[in-house]
């Protein structure tokens, strides 16, 4: 796997997210209240809303457009809604954050 550095943990607010631009589109990188980090495509399975702009609670995010709740761990919609968004592997080394770019490459293939 090709791990790519994207910055440090403190770049992302707790219970918040930042975007990373990649050739395949935006990836949303989330930091939970207890400093777990997750990355998923910044694209709600419902109508493509930018998940990085949603409210982060527990290990889930609520899409700002129509309130779908997406699990950060599985990328799946929670509750009655059905759909999923791709998850991207994240590695945390101390403060440094990496995402696995090959996952993106294989997706493009």
């Amino acid at each position: 796997m090709n791990w790519v550095s994207i910055g440090s943990l403190s770049d992302i607010p707790r219970r918040g997210a930042r975007c990373v631009d990649t050739p395949e589109g935006k990836v949303a990188v989330f930091r939970t209240a207890d400093d777990q980090v997750y990355a998923i495509d910044d694209h709600c399975p419902h109508k493509g809303g930018p998940l990085s702009q949603g409210i982060v609670h527990g290990t889930a995010v609520t899409c700002p457009l129509h309130n779908w709740v997406i699990s950060l761990e599985t990328g799946k919609a929670l509750g009655a809604d059905e759909g999923a968004v791709r998850t991207i592997p994240v590695r945390v080394e101390g403060e440094r954050l990496f995402i696995a770019l090959e996952a993106l490459a294989s997706r493009a293939a």
Binding site: V4, I6, I12, V20, K26, A33, I55, H57
Partner: protein, 816 residues
């Protein structure tokens, strides 16, 4: 022909007695009640939650007016009986009403004991006895000044906690070395004192009050040791004594209280006494359980059962201060023939002590964790030999016999005759029996049929567990709609508790109100953030991560993830410079759409998030600030051209609109607020479908509110007519503040008004000058912290992370 029953006093004891009597001997008596208080029967035990703001008076009424009508009872409110004529068998009130009786029940209750120190009669010295006292205290608390509570017993501490919750600086004076020494041993008294002090209440023990002094009203309290404590309010809560003066004057035997036999009958066979004014077997009582027992006995006697007799019982004491759990029962003095078991957990603030004699429990003190109180009470009552479980007894019922640590199992294991509700003496079997026999499914039903948890409410959890055990899923605990899936509490309860417990952060709310999720959800977090911003404008740090994206980045998100930007145009007025600046911004950032909004503003749509700070910087150069078109807050004040231009205009509607907008911009509200000012009744600004609107007329300004023109269409209600522009502004601001304080998050003004009632809003804003002024002042205070332009803050670098990507990776030149 029915007999005439007259009751003097309308407290909880005679109220309960009537319930029993109506059940046992319906129609036997024609009942007349004289109540010195000008109101119906309410739950006096719940005055403390009223004082602390956790409950409203309406919630503690036991019998509403309808109950008296339905049961054909005549209630004279505000009538004090001044004479009993035992020969003629009549009573006479201070308003001159004379009523004959066949049977008379005296239930005059008690009077607070006033320490006869110099200054005890100064204005500002109150007692803690009835709703009038509570209202007087709440009024005094509005000044946020200093209060002294004399008496560190049950009532004194509840009064202190209530005044503290109302924002007063409170000192408790207690003459003994430890608090509540009659109910608590010194160790528990110490823990209690620490908990009380942690709430910011000062406690002085061994305090001997020498005098209350001041210039025409209370100014300070002086102690015997020379200490002087400034205070504008003094509450005396040092005890009560039976109110037996009336009986004494009528020649009825009186000792400490009105002397009655076990059948609650005085030395006049047609006269009974019950409640705090009665003395049975040399004892007088103040806690509700024995008083309700007196009520039961009196009702049976009046119904013809002469064998009914009152038997003394020990009653557990509980303190009704939210967050302090305390239970005390029986005799806990040390003695040679006694042994004790003590458990202390300093970290958790738990102290438990059982006093044993001959392997039986005779006294219990629980502090910090009181769930086993009912079980210990049961063991004591039954005189159970505890030697087989002595080693684990103190850990409570869950630890006995290897039973699991499941509170449900503990309740299931209670015997049928275990007492659940101490106030009303209701045992487990009676509750489960009633649930099954009558098919009860709600807590209110169980309260109505059994009285369990209907008084102080501290056993509500136990009763709910019994309901679940008995009917399982059919029990529907949610009488109110919870805020969201993270809590069982509704919006109103959460708001009240935020104030009452002085919760000032989202984590504090979630911890104290027992949220079931670790950090809430997208429904409750924005609501809590609003409540905290509104309730603690100076203390609370706005939590941007709990705001919806629009309020976090101060622009409106669109379906494609771009944003729209609406600069503020005060009152809808603009000029060439502003329009030129907008045109330049549109060209420079290639903004694809420009549109005029319904609120008389210009909307620029399709702006990339990364461009927002630069767009704002350019707009800011031209003097624009955020139009808050994205906010649950004041949006726009729409105006017509008014008397400056219009040949029909009666007032300067444009000027007033701009003035309102400049005064109120930046304020957060439960839902969006849109306003309008029209210069004449032709109403070109369409003020009569707005949240708040003004129609100018020759004689002044007609203020409208609670209109809607969205999902619902609704014309406004008229708040009232005021003469001047200043008055119009003050009324509108006060109305908005009332809505800010009472509205549920996302509830528009018209829905809030429907819930509260238009007449009540008019009463508070139009008729009650003091209240209106107070609302106005609170709004002005909060604006000090709210009127900061969020755009210029962000142009200066605030929340930079919001507007640029964290990284750009995977592109050819960026690959590492």
């Amino acid at each position: 022909m029915s007999e005439k029953l007259v009751i003097i006093g309308n407290g909880m004891a005679p109220g309960r007695m009537l319930e029993h009597l109506l059940e046992q001997a319906p129609g036997r008596y024609t009942v007349t009640i004289f109540n010195a208080e000008p109101r119906v029967n309410y739950d006096r035990i719940m005055l403390s939650p009223v004082l602390s703001g956790e409950k409203a008076y309406e919630e503690i009424i036991i019998h509403g007016d309808g109950w008296y009508i339905a049961n054909n009872i005549t209630l004279y409110k505000g009538h004090k009986i001044i004479a009993i004529d035992r020969t003629a068998k009549t009573v006479t009130s201070d308003h001159g009403v004379t009523e004959p009786y066949d049977k008379l029940v005296i239930a005059t209750g008690s009077v607070p004991f006033i320490i006869p120190v110099p200054g005890h009669d100064l204005p500002g010295v109150l007692t803690y006895r009835d709703l009038d006292d509570v209202q007087a205290m709440m009024l005094a608390a509005q000044s946020r000044a200093k209060a002294v509570v004399i008496g560190g017993g049950l009532l004194g501490l509840e009064a202190a906690a209530g005044l503290n919750a109302q924002g007063m600086d409170v000192t408790v004076l207690h003459v003994m070395p430890t608090l509540m020494e009659r109910q608590l041993d010194p160790a528990a008294g110490y823990l209690l004192q620490r908990a009380v002090e942690q709430r910011g209440i000062k406690v002085i023990t061994k305090a001997n009050t020498k005098a209350i002094t001041g210039n025409g009203k209370v100014g300070q309290v002086e102690l015997a040791d020379g200490t002087v404590i400034p205070a504008t309010l003094v509450v005396m809560a040092v005890g009560i004594r039976p109110n037996s003066a009336l009986a004494k004057e009528a020649g009825i035997a009186v000792n400490r209280g009105i002397v009655v036999d076990a059948g609650m009958r005085s030395n006049d066979p047609d006269i009974y006494a019950l409640g705090e004014c009665a003395e049975v077997n040399g004892q007088v009582y103040g806690l509700v359980a024995p008083l309700y027992e007196m009520a039961r006995v009196t009702a049976q006697q009046l119904a013809g059962n002469e064998k009914a007799a009152f038997v003394h019982m020990d009653t557990p004491t509980k303190l009704k201060v939210t967050g302090i759990d305390l239970f005390s029962l029986g005799d806990f003095a040390e003695g040679e023939d006694r042994q004790e078991i003590v458990l202390r957990d300093a970290a958790a603030g738990v102290y438990k002590r059982l006093v044993l004699k001959d392997d039986r429990i005779i006294g219990t003190v629980l502090y910090g964790e009181t769930a086993d109180g009912a079980w210990f009470n049961d063991l004591k009552k039954k005189q159970t030999d505890i030697s087989p479980m002595r080693d684990t007894l103190i850990f409570g019922q869950s630890y006995q016999g290897g039973a699991p640590l499941d509170p449900m199992a503990a309740v299931a294991a209670l015997p049928d005759d275990a007492e659940i509700c101490g106030c009303n003496g209701v045992c487990k079997g009676k509750i489960t029996g009633a649930i099954t026999a009558k098919g009860l499914t709600s807590l209110d039903d169980v309260r109505a049929h059994t009285k369990a948890s209907a008084s102080c409410g501290s056993c509500t959890g136990l009763v709910e567990k019994l309901m679940v055990l008995t009917i399982g899923d059919k029990y529907n605990p949610a009488a109110v709609q919870p805020m969201c899936g993270c809590t069982t509490l509704g919006h109103d309860e959460v708001r009240r508790l935020i104030m009452a417990k002085r919760l000032k952060t989202i984590p504090a709310v979630m911890q104290e109100l027992e949220w079931t999720t670790s950090c809430g959800c997208a429904k409750c977090r924005p609501a809590l953030n609003y409540y905290l911003v509104c309730d603690w404008p100076d203390d609370y740090a706005d939590d941007y991560q709990s705001r919806f994206i629009n309020e976090r980045v101060h622009a409106n998100i669109q379906k494609d993830g771009t944003y729209s930007v609406v600069p503020r145009m005060w009152g809808g007025v603009t000029n060439a410079t502003e329009l030129r600046a907008i045109a330049d911004v549109v060209d420079k950032f290639e903004i694809p759409m420009v549109k005029v909004t319904g609120g008389q503003r210009i909307d620029m749509l399709g702006i990339r998030k990364e461009d927002l700070p630069a767009v704002w910087a350019d707009l800011g150069q031209a003097g624009f600030v955020s139009g808050h078109a994205y906010a649950k807050g004041l949006r726009t004040v729409k105006t017509c051209v008014g008397s400056d231009w219009c040949r029909f205009g009666t007032q300067d509607s444009t000027g007033l609109g701009i003035r309102i907008e400049k005064f109120m911009w930046g304020s957060w509200t439960p839902a969006k607020v849109k306003m309008a000012v029209s210069g004449c009744p032709r109403n070109c600004a369409e003020a009569t479908c707005k949240d708040v609107g003004v129609i100018c007329v020759d004689s002044g300004y007609e203020i409208h509110f609670a209109g809607a023109a969205g999902l619902d269409i609704k014309g406004t209600e008229v708040l009232g007519l005021v003469r001047t522009e200043d008055e119009a502004l003050e009324h509108i601001v006060a109305l908005t503040q009332m809505y800010r304080e009472q509205g549920r998050y996302l509830e528009r003004i018209y829905k809030w008004a429907k819930r509260i009632g238009i007449p009540e809003i008019k009463r508070q804003i139009m008729d009650d000058d003091a209240k209106r002024k107070a609302y106005f002042d609170r709004f002005v205070f909060s604006q000090k912290f709210a009127q900061v332009d969020p755009w210029s803050e962000r142009v200066s670098g605030k929340d930079k992370h919001e507007f640029r990507p964290m990284a750009s990776v995977g592109f050819a030149q960026a690959a590492e």
